[in-house]
Subunit: 317 residues, 2 copies
């Protein structure tokens, strides 16, 4: 595989801080773009608590001004998708000629904004199965899980064969694994995304609509039954679109969430801290995709309407 | 019509206090059963603010102990339906031989609990189209509207002809109107109840799920659209059960709510004050009735599941 690739991490939060930190600790050249935390990290470094081992990085290549960043082999988009309007400024600077962009954002078709900037053929997307929170400036607390599954992005994927396992995805996989990250290159990103939606849609949605953590949702019978009904509706949409999510994935989401440490889904944190919620990525895009195949999602649609109301009020206050 | 009938008002809250107060002011013999407010009302009387004219009643026949109440011609059940377990103690005392029970409670089939005590043939039911709150002990603030529509109760009404307009309903209608109350005896209580559900289900439910007043719900586009979708689902259930609610009633609910003064639906107040919500009457019973005709109510079902979760947490705290 030759020399190690360099990485630009766009967004130094719960996810970018953790994965970028692990890469940097392992000797990769990593450049972080941070916003409010940049000054703190430049002075005090990056602090990571993790079941993989706690660590502190003192000398971090952290930038608050994207124009000062070097171009890298791989740009990892670790921003919230609600910030994607920034990508047209960021990606041309951080991504070298021929370099690639790995979009690690929640939801569906979140790669479209990056593809518009650098071209569809230079974009990979991925999902993180991760419980991690930023608990202070430059301070990441990784709680549980941590797997990244990623692969080649197709802008209009339904009814087409999966793009297959690319060399460049496998190279990134090897490097992430070198850094101690549970990484898996996949030949079918779309399948991965819909599987992840079967968690993100019910549990992000209900965590805000019910103002509840995952364990509260799982232990009350009505919210448990509603979670399962929503998961089932998302599964039906995926299958109807030709995405082969196995039926057993429904129960797996329930079982995994029951076993999970009590956790605030990211959307709940966004709502609590008055930040916009990732409603387009997690709700609107899947509903729109399902609609192209004539599939209705009444429960998810109702949840989106409730969240749109709460989001509008939250941002207004 | 002969002598005026005597009335026992069971529950001296926003609704019982108003209508009982109006009857008493107009010279009817009215006995009130009150709980926490009984002492206050016995000493300070009943204070009513209303667009019909503010008034104060000093000498009120108020009781905190049902065993001290006389039996009356008409017992008006103005309790929350969540208190219906009390009726087996109350109704035999307050209702004279041959007297009747008028159940003015929200929801569907709320008369069943009274019918079990006094017999189906002695029960009338009614809906109040009323914006009124109890703002302090013995202090009622009537804000808007005020119509009561009531009629004969049938325990198993679907597919049967409406029971028709009875003499006793017309007598009560005349007496309520004498007291300045906008009362209407109907030959089809079931139709009235389903029409009212088309308001109560969406706006009570959303007021709690979104923690919002009616005007907030109406002015945001997503919550407005969701309200309309829920109203439509209730309408579809009614029509499927053979209850002839006109299509135009859907838009009427939207228009009336837009014009309504900003208002906290009663379920929102119950939730806020830590009281049980009337979920069986307003949600479970209509869903069960629809199911007997094979009609699904996915949005109302999801709303109920959310409210069951919120109710359980609220009563636990």
């Amino acid at each position: 595989m030759g020399n190690k690739q360099s990485y630009a991490i766009i967004g130094t939060g719960a996810m970018g801080g953790l994965y970028g930190g692990l890469l940097a600790r392992s000797g990769f050249e990593v450049h972080f773009l941070a916003n409010s935390d940049a000054q703190h990290i430049a002075e005090k470094g990056l602090q990571v608590e993790s079941p993989l081992g706690d660590f502190h990085l003192q000398d971090v290549n952290v930038h608050s001004d994207v124009s000062q960043m070097p171009s890298c082999d791989v740009t990892v988009v670790a921003l919230k998708s609600t910030q994607n309007h920034l990508l047209s400024t960021i990606l041309p600077v951080t991504t070298r000629d021929g370099g690639i962009v790995l979009v690690l954002q929640n939801g569906l078709d979140v790669e479209a904004d990056s593809a518009r900037v650098v071209g569809e053929d230079r974009v990979l997307g991925g999902c993180c199965f991760l419980c991690s929170n930023k608990v202070g400036p430059g301070h990441i607390r990784h709680l549980d899980y941590g797997r990244i599954v990623f692969g080649e992005y197709l802008a209009d994927p339904y009814g087409k064969p999966a793009p297959g396992l690319s060399d460049r995805a496998q190279r990134i996989e090897a490097e992430l694994m070198d850094a101690g990250i549970d990484a898996e290159a996949t030949d079918d990103l779309l399948l991965t995304r819909w599987k992840k939606l079967m968690w993100n849609i019910p549990f992000n949605g209900l965590s805000v609509a019910l103002d509840a953590s995952t364990d509260e949702i799982m232990k009350q019978q009505d919210s448990l039954a509603l979670s399962e009904a929503i998961i089932r509706e998302v599964h039906t949409a995926a299958v109807g679109l030709g995405v082969p999510v196995p039926e057993s994935w429904i129960q797996k989401q329930i079982d995994a969430t029951k076993k999970m440490v009590p956790y605030d889904a990211s959307m709940r944190l966004d709502y609590r801290f008055g930040r916009p919620m990732e409603l387009d990525a997690i709700f609107t895009n899947p509903i729109a995709a399902a609609a192209t195949a004539g599939i209705k999602m009444p429960l998810v649609g109702m949840m989106l309407q409730q969240l749109q109301f709460l989001n509008a009020r939250n941002l207004q206050d």
